[in-house]
């Protein structure tokens, strides 16, 4: 028996998943690989890494303060870890010192594995230093913030990346990064923290941009198929909103009734 109020959720999830998977399949079979315009925020990641290399200063990265099993921000953390993989490889390739600051303990072993693999894949495993390249700071929000700020000041980082789920500490970290003179690129799905990143960072990936960036930065072109599928899903949502608004104005509440089932 279906739980009350979940049928519309299931229907939309199945429909959206269908479009996402169909475009993933078409891309993998090279039948249709969508062309995606470059996102300024994604371009800024590459620019910031280049800047750090030119200045000969380190790059810092935070995958957020949310756990991998957080119901609200697990996706955010997963996207941040994907971006971490790309950023680490590029930083190592360019010869920049790379430092990752970790707050949730569950993210620590995963981030260590990702960064260690990046060093290995770039043929520089000896440059990966245990407990130094990936640093665990504190699961406490403010403990993490002070440690991360301290690290940025000590190392005088030239590029700072803030992705994943950040909360109230976002403003303190981002503004301290600006004080150090680091070029900062951030991304978050937390709509309450986005304004802080927008005012304090050079570039911000807003909401789903963070997920799209993860696919965009992937060396596998197949990943880009899902971005096109996402656009189709958004188009369906927009059509439902417009149709629902028009019908509601006319006194017909069929869409809202269907969506509440």
């Amino acid at each position: 028996m279906f739980k009350v109020g979940t049928l519309s959720w299931l229907t939309l999830t199945v429909v959206f998943s269908f479009f996402l998977l169909i475009f993933l399949y078409l891309s993998s079979k090279k039948i249709y690989i969508p062309q995606i315009r470059e996102h300024p925020g994604v371009g800024a990641i590459i620019e910031a890494l280049g800047r750090a290399t030119e200045m000969g200063r380190p790059v810092s990265f935070s995958p957020g303060t949310s756990d991998l099993y957080s119901t609200k921000y697990a996706g955010d953390t997963a996207a941040a870890l994907t971006i971490l993989g790309y950023t680490a490889r590029e930083a190592v390739k360019k010869g920049s010192k790379f430092i990752v600051g970790i707050a949730p303990p569950t993210v620590l072993p995963v981030a260590e594995e990702i960064v260690r693999t990046a060093y290995l894949m770039e043929g520089k495993p000896e440059e990966y230093i245990e407990e130094e390249t990936v640093q665990f700071f504190s699961p406490n929000q403010w403990g993490f913030a002070t440690s991360y700020i301290g690290m940025m000041h000590r190392e005088q980082v030239a590029a700072n990346f803030l992705f994943g789920g950040h909360a109230a500490e976002a403003m303190v970290i981002a503004e301290s990064g600006a004080t150090v003179g680091a070029m900062q690129v951030a991304g978050s799905t937390n709509v309450y923290q986005l304004p802080f990143f927008l005012v304090a960072c050079d570039y911000t990936l807003i909401g789903e941009d963070e997920f799209a960036a993860a696919a965009y930065l992937s060396p596998d072109p197949v990943q880009k198929g899902t971005i096109f599928g996402q656009d189709i899903a958004k188009l369906i949502c927009a059509l439902l909103i417009v149709l629902g608004a028009l019908l509601s104005t006319a006194g017909i509440d069929v869409i809202s009734k269907l969506l509440s089932k």
Partner: protein, 210 residues
Amino acid sequence: MSSVWRNVTSAILFLVSLIILVEYVWVDATLQRLTTDFNNWAVVIGAFTLGLGGYSIIVRHWRMIVKRRTLWPYSVVLLVTLFTFIATGLITGSVTSPQYNWIYSAIVMPISSTLYGMNAFFIASASYRAFRARSWEAAVLLVAAIFLMLKNAPIGGVISPILPSIGTIIWDIAGATGMRAILIGIGIGTLALGLRVIIGQEKTPLGGAD
């Protein structure tokens, strides 16, 4: 991570995700029990990783002290505090003991509150940089921010009752519309990333690289 191990991880992830998704929509006692178990396992594994984190902190700061790196005395403070906390917990036998609570409420809480309070100053300095009308977009941001400040600050209503109303319109219509559009995008983006991870197309969050 070896490819065999990664495939095994992907298969487990796929199966567990499927069970949790089905349990979300379907009423079934067995599925509910399984989902509760999975969530409990996640918490237990999370507790183990805290040990890894603790080890990482101790090793890094010990290294900083031994090598007399910049600001090494702070590492001494950190390690002393860490072990004092652990010792207090072990000696009193409880993390709810008055001694343990005293350390928390007399040291950790005030420091956290101070940091949180500092947000106001950071917001002011960041706003000063962001609200300089150097472009058309920044000018729009500046105008919207002025109206919202006048809506929230008592002086806005004193100057004219229209000013808070404009702020309310910006917040309730432009702000809410934009925020909902972002939330819809986030939902679909999360679904897309989740699907890529579940079917094994996105391997980085499992550790390693594509």
